[in-house]
Symmetry: C2
Subunit: 475 residues, 2 copies
């Protein structure tokens, strides 16, 4: 269908002067088609300009007014997240600790307190919905990846031990959270929290493990392929599924004014879960296998399904993250590994920073009152969270046959809450279950428990080494 046989084209590489036979005609055409119209247009403009050159109304605010802040904010957020992530890594911390810090620094707690003008200029109200939208997209991408990683965790004969350890890793912190809740309810709960829902929320919030952070810590410490690494991944996977089910149940109940509506929501959640598992999962496996090799369409199907599943759970009345997590569990794991990795890296680089910053913007240490009670409650919450998550799994792991140092390491690993905790906390704040003060406390707890993981692991490593040396010397 090529209309121009290229052989017939005779282009002149030296247009002016060298080809004398055609020159006159060429110049004439040029004057007629290019110079004259240009002069005429210029004349017309001058004529129009000298007549009534004034706009009809003063300049108003168009839809493009905030693009300076929008682009500047996006650039600052992705660069800050990356920079702080690198800094964290350089001091032996997982990048997520730095990224959470970056979010806090850009929010009212640090930047807002130091330079109120800068924070207000960079994140005006008009720009925030866009940043929030990017954060939401990053969040469902993250939950999809977590679902996929959970699905891929192989049991390899460690199932029984993992289930008991995971159970201990949930029950203890949950009880601790629930006890804390009955203590803190009067002064620290959000406006929407009933005592039961508040207790369920704090219980689940304390039992969560940051599955993606755990995986990255294991990779960075070359523990990913060790039996201990596999076991802790497995425990975290089981514990997380249970914790998310608890949180989904809590979300389904929270804010429903009548028991009938709560029952309806729970029923819909179960119906959706069953439909996804028995209908959508096999269908997805077929479709995505059939699309193998057609990367673009596959990506679109995957993303559209992810968005749809998130929208469905959101419409049912539990948060979009559950739909994304369930979708990640239902997508066939093997064939999507590379696509998931790419989604993960792009989202981690360009979308998740907005989630951290969103959390940071909601964390206002000063407005929520920085006083002794804030510090005291933070210390209490951190102690309960760490004790609950460390002691139970450690004892349980020891009783399934692990050595004491390995059991302790397992407890320390499960104690990293990082990113996932922030997801839960933002949910609690959005549902009105947390007061702003308690949100600040729990963000601090998430940061401390995650930041403690690497030093504690190193400490355990040194203790083990000394013990072994001591043992060797004694021999």
């Amino acid at each position: 269908m090529t209309p121009t046989p290229t052989g017939t084209v005779d282009l002149d590489p030296r247009p002016s002067g060298s080809q004398t036979p055609r020159r006159g005609k060429g110049t004439l055409t040029y004057v007629l088609t290019a110079v004259l119209p240009a002069l005429a247009a210029l004349g017309l403009l001058v004529m129009l300009g000298t007549s009534t050159d004034s706009a009809r109304t003063p300049p108003g605010s168009g839809p493009l007014d905030h693009s300076v802040q929008l682009f500047a904010a996006i650039a600052v957020v992705i660069l800050a997240a990356r920079l702080f992530g690198r800094l964290a890594r350089s001091v032996g911390q997982p990048p997520v600790v730095g990224e959470i810090f970056a979010g806090l620094c850009l929010g009212p707690s640090v930047l807002g307190a130091l330079l109120p003008g800068a924070s207000a200029w960079l994140f005006p109200t008009e720009v925030r919905p866009v940043l929030q939208g990017l954060a939401d997209l990053g969040l469902i991408a993250l939950m999809f990846v977590v679902g996929q990683e959970t699905k891929q965790t192989s049991f390899r004969g460690q199932g029984g031990a993992a289930v008991t350890i995971a159970h201990a890793g949930i029950a203890g912190p949950f009880l601790g959270g629930a006890l804390l809740a009955s203590l803190l309810y009067r002064d620290w709960a959000g406006p929407q929290a009933s005592p039961v829902v508040f207790a369920m929320f704090l219980g689940s919030a304390l039992s969560i493990t940051a599955f993606p952070v755990l995986a990255r810590i294991l990779v960075e410490r070359n523990m990913f392929r060790t039996p201990l690494g596999r076991l802790s991944m497995l425990c975290a996977a089981i514990a997380d599924v249970v914790a998310w089910c608890l949180i989904a149940a809590m979300t389904a109940v929270a804010g429903r004014d009548t028991p009938a509506r709560a029952v309806l929501t729970v029923t819909l959640v179960i119906v959706y879960g069953v439909a996804m598992t028995w209908l959508v999962r096999p269908w997805l496996a077929r479709v995505l296998t059939a699309l193998e090799g057609r990367a673009e369409i596959r990506l679109l199907v995957l993303l559209a399904g992810l968005l749809a599943s998130s929208a469905v759970t959101s419409a049912i009345g539990i948060h979009a993250i559950f739909g994304a997590f369930l979708y990640g569990l239902c997508c066939p794991a093997g064939s999507l590994t590379r696509l998931t990795e790419r989604i993960n890296s792009v989202s981690g680089l360009l979308l998740l920073p907005f989630f951290f910053v969103g959390t940071g913007l909601r964390t206002d240490v000063w407005r929520s009152g920085f006083d002794a009670s804030l510090v005291g409650v933070t210390a209490l919450v951190v102690a309960v969270a760490m004790l609950g998550k460390l002691a139970g799994p450690m004892l349980m792991a020891r009783s399934t046959g692990l050595s004491w140092p390995d059991s302790a390491s397992l407890g320390v690993l499960l104690n990293a809450r990082g990113l996932t905790e922030l997801v839960v906390l933002n949910l609690g704040l959005a549902l009105g279950l947390l007061s702003e003060r308690l949100f600040v406390v729990l963000v601090a707890m998430a940061l401390v428990t995650t930041a403690a993981t690497a030093p504690l692991l190193s400490l355990l490593g040194r203790l083990t080494a000394r013990q072994r040396d001591g043992g060797a010397r004694r021999l």
Copy 2:
């Protein structure tokens, strides 16, 4: 630093029953660490539930209220764009024609007219800023890619011919647009338009060529590597740089109430352009070459620079797209080719659809009054646009030595306006230079001139073939 020598780990693959010596202790630990806390937590929840189980205030509207629509809208937009793009391709049109159609169909002109509820539900006011933000990001990604493609267009000795043809391809349509402007100013100009600015705007809007669309048409018709293909790319590149300069000048002048402010803006634009060309360009080349092989950092530097450059031009007072285009011109072309391609494909798949839909949402055929004058003016504008862009370059190309069919094909190719025209039109609407009615007219013009390209090229191909057959028979 691995704290757990993996050799010492002794995991029990059969946790229950088989290892009798440890069973009793294991079960006891399990009851103590997992079962008892779980029961205690349950008891606590029941206790709390029977006391005062009611939320403090009725459920309010949290920040997550619109996530259903947000996710649904995003899924619908990217799927619709892809689907219509495929349909367009299946009838021999470039995908962009289908994507523009998809935008129009989701807007008030089609979906809004057929199912007002669906359109209002899918795109509520709360979700639009996010969609607009995604569209803005897609737009600057597009302009960056256009800048890169423009930069990569090699002159290869066709420079002189291309300059004269490009000049003819700008002057004619610009004059036509300016004449149209003086005709349409009274009834069709927007509230912010002075006669000169309106004439400059319509003139530039009619002279623009859709560089990316042109490139894709050439690739699809196997004309990309032919001399005619190269020449048309080159003409389009030159014409586009000139047209964007005109539009930037127009934007700098539009809406500034005093000449002094207009002069200031123009000065700043020139300073910025010079700084980018002489300072940032060599620096970028060094930095991006130094980062070769570190894909993530490179992507971040590239994106941060793109966002910063867009923010700067936006802050100066001309649109962000100019900063993005200039940045694309200034980035070193060779080493970024693959990265640019990836940005292009991701943005085309996941961001640009929101630009098309944004345009569609602003194009309301019914509200702007669908009557004879609308149809008449559309026909007039289409006629002027096509005549201006076809005739001048065709005559000029012929006089530089191309055959008549090749000259006509060149004119037809330059006449495709597609996507780039929509960028200009949205700018005009945002600046208040266009009335809503004229916006509708010009969107229709963009669609018609782009859709006409493929059939006209085929027609020319058939004519050439028949002529050749006739000539062969006569021999």
